[in-house]
Symmetry: D2
Subunit: 438 residues, 4 copies
């Protein structure tokens, strides 16, 4: 049942730092214990179905480059079956524990809603069998509510409530499938949940629609006994001019507004973080501070490009800092590290798909080791604790907890009548300290 397409690739193994084999892991030793846990259990890697098995290499200025054998030469359902075989062949050879998919990645849109649903359910059976056979698990499922023209003006936020109902139909089926396949999370990325121009948009109405939709999803999840986490994936814009799930802070406010901050968490993508004007670690740290940290899409952008390039991570210190943030917050529960990444459209060989994933997994594993050293050494965290020591004095606690009014604080200052002495923020020393762990 293995696909010929990847037949030349031997299963990827851990061979250690000295290995000269470009298709071996040098750092990702899945059973190695780090901070008391297996590497695999820390990292919880997932491969995404869409970029690796569905995307043709098309960009806004050019067409297909990849010519995968499952793109042509059969009817849509036959091709979907062939694609699933190739996908699980890839996942097995790579040795990755998880995958993720949208409904439309795995099964073609049908001529009617019922046919679409039937196609999807049929393919979910195939996926179940592949999971069973290979041991690969589902990190999260999701529904594609942005590619079809019916969603061009939004799914949940469409001006037409019939489109809202279409979206509900897809999401219901996708949650059902996620439950059936043992998925550990369910993700919503609202690619069209935003606007192109305010001139034709009722912002408040659309926010209320989105709030309602998400409440319906949460209600449904509980009703059917899905115990995974519901995740929103923030992104500031693209394809829209403005997307309502702009960044972690925006999502938090949205969840609070619609009473969902205890029900829904975020799936943070590195590339979306930087497109929204934040560092990846900022978004992670903020989500943790706000109690809505869920999962990560590890794919990075290009610092000079203004669109979502979804590249595999390749910078060790940046990745280490991101994972240090994750570890500081206690690591993942149901979440994991998904590669919502695509090989460049010039990387047209089957082997390129392996290079992309092997390099990224290996980089993350190495970054985990760096981050673990930061945690164990504790010097970084200690510097922060000491900087805020004043807030743990009785005066600090009184001030923070509201036992001192504005007048009381003012009186304190005026009666002491002297200025405070600033202390160094020590940024360079701390940046140097980070480099000691690299």
């Amino acid at each position: 049942m293995s696909s010929g397409y990847f037949a030349d690739i031997k299963p990827i193994r851990y061979e250690g730092p000295e290995s000269d084999n470009p298709l071996a892991f040098r750092w990702y030793d899945k059973d190695r214990i780090v901070l008391g846990k297996r590497m695999e259990d820390h990292l919880r890697f997932a491969v995404c179905y869409w970029h690796s098995f569905v995307w043709t290499g098309l960009d806004p200025f050019g067409g297909e480059t990849f010519l995968r054998p499952w793109f042509t030469g059969g009817n849509p359902m036959e091709l979907a079956v062939r694609k699933a075989e190739a996908a699980f062949d890839f996942l097995s050879r790579l040795g990755v524990p998880y995958y993720c998919f949208h409904d439309r990645d795995v099964a073609p849109e049908g001529a009617t809603p019922r046919e679409s649903l039937s196609n999807f359910r049929h393919m979910v059976e195939h996926l179940a069998a592949h999971q069973q056979r290979t041991g690969v698990k589902l990190l999260w499922g999701t529904a594609n509510l942005f590619s079809h023209r019916r969603y061009m003006a939004g799914a949940a936020t469409n001006p037409d409530p019939e489109v809202f109902a279409m979206a509900a139909t897809q999401v219901k089926a996708a949650i059902d499938a996620t439950l059936q396949l043992g998925g550990e999370n369910y993700v919503l990325w609202g690619g069209r949940e935003g606007y192109e121009t305010l001139l034709n948009t009722d912002l408040r109405q659309e926010l209320d629609q989105l709030g309602r939709f998400l409440n319906l999803v949460v209600d449904y999840k509980h009703r059917i006994g899905f115990t995974g986490t519901i995740l929103l994936e923030p992104k500031p814009r693209e394809p829209t001019k403005h997307q309502y799930d702009f960044d972690v802070a925006t999502v938090y406010g949205f969840l609070k507004r619609y009473g969902l901050e205890k029900e829904v968490k975020v799936n943070i993508e590195a590339n979306h973080a930087t497109l929204s004007g934040h560092s990846f670690e900022h978004e992670i740290a903020l989500a943790q501070a706000l109690g809505i940290f869920g999962s990560l899409d590890m794919n990075r952008g290009d610092p000079q490009l203004g669109w979502d390039t979804d590249q595999f991570p390749n910078n060790l210190p940046e990745t280490a800092i991101a994972l240090y943030s994750v570890l500081q917050g206690g690591g993942f529960t149901t979440g994991g590290l998904n590669f919502d990444a695509k090989v460049r459209r010039q990387s047209i060989d089957p082997t390129d798909l392996f290079h992309g994933h092997v390099g990224a997994m290996d980089l993350c594993a190495r970054a985990l080791l760096v981050a673990a050293r930061m945690i164990e050494d504790d010097r970084l965290a200690k510097a922060v604790r000491e900087r805020y020591a004043g807030w743990r004095t009785s005066f600090g606690r009184d001030a923070l907890e509201g036992r001192l009014s504005l007048e009381a604080l003012s009186e304190r200052v005026l009666s002491r009548n002297e200025d405070v002495t600033p202390v160094s923020g020590r940024q360079e020393a701390l940046e140097n300290l980070v480099n000691r762990y690299i």
Copy 2:
């Protein structure tokens, strides 16, 4: 008591569109009735003290250019008195109804907290007298918690609670002054309330500090009977790497988190909006949708520059769209149009200060007339209402108000078993319609 510096400038008058006088208003006819209200009452213009009377022309690469007579030639308090005279001379000649200030703009920092407070209180008496004499009113007061080195690591969010207390001291005095001077709002802009590096920052701790501080401010306001509005001014970054009041959506989430969403509104600056990746009208419309719209800083940025240039507005269609958004939300209550704008550092003549403000006020007045035509004509708003008509059917209302579960929506779609028909978003037609009002 009028300053010699502006003595060559005659009071600015409305002379009508045909006037060839560059220091006359061609559109700002303050008593003209627009949509049932005087222009002056719609626009509620304010001049800021800091950029026009305090800034020396200094930028990160060069020093003073302006050589205002109140910059040198006396002790700090004498200069402050002279500056206030010049400022009110300017405000009177310009014919603007409001001004805004920070505590440190009007009075110098003293050697001790008490001396600083005493300096400030003394100057507030001067301001009161000038207001009385000229009829110019205070739109809002605020405290400068970012220029002094004690605040280099934050004011309310400083790692040292003694700095928090210093900030409380300044803010208390500034609110007292605002109340005394009849100010209609009190603004907080947290120029250092953010971080330079996460490596030395406890994000959650700092957010809690800021939440506490703002709660103290709100409590104090009520206690002393200040009935003006408390406003936060969002800005994404600069001087910090990341500021906690990033944009309107972030501020909303923050207010919800700390129970302040009914107490505090936003002062939206055009330049800060665009630096955060949003259009100005987006921030206005979002604040209205979320119920936290307060006031505006009308100064724009440069679309190619990545820092806060604080330029006077000069683009008619952009300004008209912004004011259309304001009018759609019902206009200002306590807020107004502040020019947090500075003349370019090469604009070193006294007359340049007038050119900047006269041009900006006139542009806003003309934009108000455009926006009023949009409101009266109603074609733009009607296009939006019609686009969402489906949500006012019984099905639409049931869906929006939660009377249809995810399953019920799915059943509806599967039983109808047909796709929806997308309709045109008509963006180009609506953009053309806007240009009919220009």
Copy 3:
């Protein structure tokens, strides 16, 4: 021979500013004389074939939205014929004097190079007949060297010289067709002439390839007697990480390096200007200063988006400033105003194509009237002349023309031994002056 698709649209007429007809011109009165020339001859409007007749509405996150009747229901050549009929029907109804096309827009790629050429030549005959019939002329032709996967790593700059030869084949045929159809310019936009990563790129080699290619084009043009202008279209990036024709300044250096600065000019696109970090008027003014100004693509971007949105222009003051720059440089010779613009993918009605173009043409016409007033009034230009008056003194001329050495200048300063007195740059006054012409 007119296409049913646009049959509901009456030919667009000039009806004057008071017209309430959204599909009439209110400002574009083609025979109106402005600065001694017909409006049509000033503006030389062109519609592009690709966005209006070829693009399906696809974006990186979604598929076709437009469902044009010439997209399906025939073999590729039948569809190409049908598309050409629709296109010229549109052009005629719009009343636009020019169009532009890529080879692959008008004729499908064949199974072999010869078949591609034959398809193209066949369709060129159709175009010739349509031009003859309708009077619509060709502003410029070009070849698409970026969509086919053979060009994924570049055309002229491909690591494989056989691809260079393929590109040469297409360009030769496209220049031949441009000559045959009376085209007034030939454009090269190097969508893949750049790199994705320096790791696999020989920058110097690729620049030399591009220099060679452009020299071959220029040689060929002269050999066949094509008297139109060869134009490069700068764009900084997208689809590439870095494109060699980054902006006007970069193109100028490239032309100088390969001896082409007298042979080749630039086609400046507003959206590409802003993506490269410049204002549109900067790129126009710089091209004029360097003697390489050729033609314009009038489509704008969105100031908050980091990719090429190719929107119709809709901001009057911005467009007026751009046209003022054009007029200051003497206007177009062979160039014109092409709309390399696409209606938004939600604008799915045939009428939307008209709204986009009618609004844009009308805006440009109105902006031309504004720019003409600036020229006639001369106050803007006079302010600049006066600012540099010192350079027309004998000292200024000596300094500029090199008759004073560094030592001589230094001696002059030291012997006078006094500082200079800076004068105001008057930016606000000049910005206000601009608004007098709006």
Copy 4:
């Protein structure tokens, strides 16, 4: 003669990777031979005078934070003397071979041009003595033509030719001093050589002025026998809206236009590269391809900030790639690695200045070792050579060298009549290969 300010800091020594001393080098072992050359001779580190000894910590939103002892407590010349002592004390303790300065960094502006010159000459004697005493050398000198208000509208590009003469006076003296002090390069960074608005600017005139100025500098250099390199430092904007030396490509075109491409090279700053929309390695590689590579300013920006933060480098893979580019081009001749970097304004302790420089030097040294492995291993370069192998066949050479016309190339393709076969660009594999050297 050593300054008390740094007295607590022991001279920085190489202690090896295992050292736990934050003020020791772990990688920078200056006499270690790498690729046949001493580390110190490869890296040629320089410290800049302005950020480390002149800058007060001021930013656009706040004042001095550093309180260096040489900022107050004496007349300007006394303070200049004290500052020079502190600077050379720092340089000696750090063990850096070079420094760089602007004229106004080392000596105060006087009341007249002659007094300014006299101050400067006096301080140059001090510098000479310090160099003699400590062995620290001058990498480059330069003149500050941007801070004084006389230059607010440009120096060489000022609308007033008297300002041009003032600039010439400063530059002459600064070149004289550079020669006297054995400086190996002379740099021009045109902080005000650009414009704030095109409305008051004659672009062509200003470019001609700048071309003339640079020619005068080159003439003077030859006349006095200065054999160092003249360097321009590109920067796209800030403080201006647009600076004429936007990026390397722009500078190249400028040099070609004014006949200077053999006389002048570039000093590329990492932060300026990224602000202009390029990667640092792009600017290095391009300068090498164009034959104008000179020297580097190693300070980085923040990828989320739109202004020049001038931070010390701290990312190992990024720095390694930059140095790999340098080594590929043959390394430095007269250039070096200057840290035009400033400690953050919160880093107020003397020790922070050491942390910044020690960490940066150590990072660069470690990156040099990485880059040397890339060079020695040759796999990266080999992949590039092989990718372009077709251009070294006889067909490839004929095509590149112009022996095949457009027609000949077209005939070749049409007679073969088959498509080319694209090959993978292998980006992910190459990115992984880079990580093997880290």
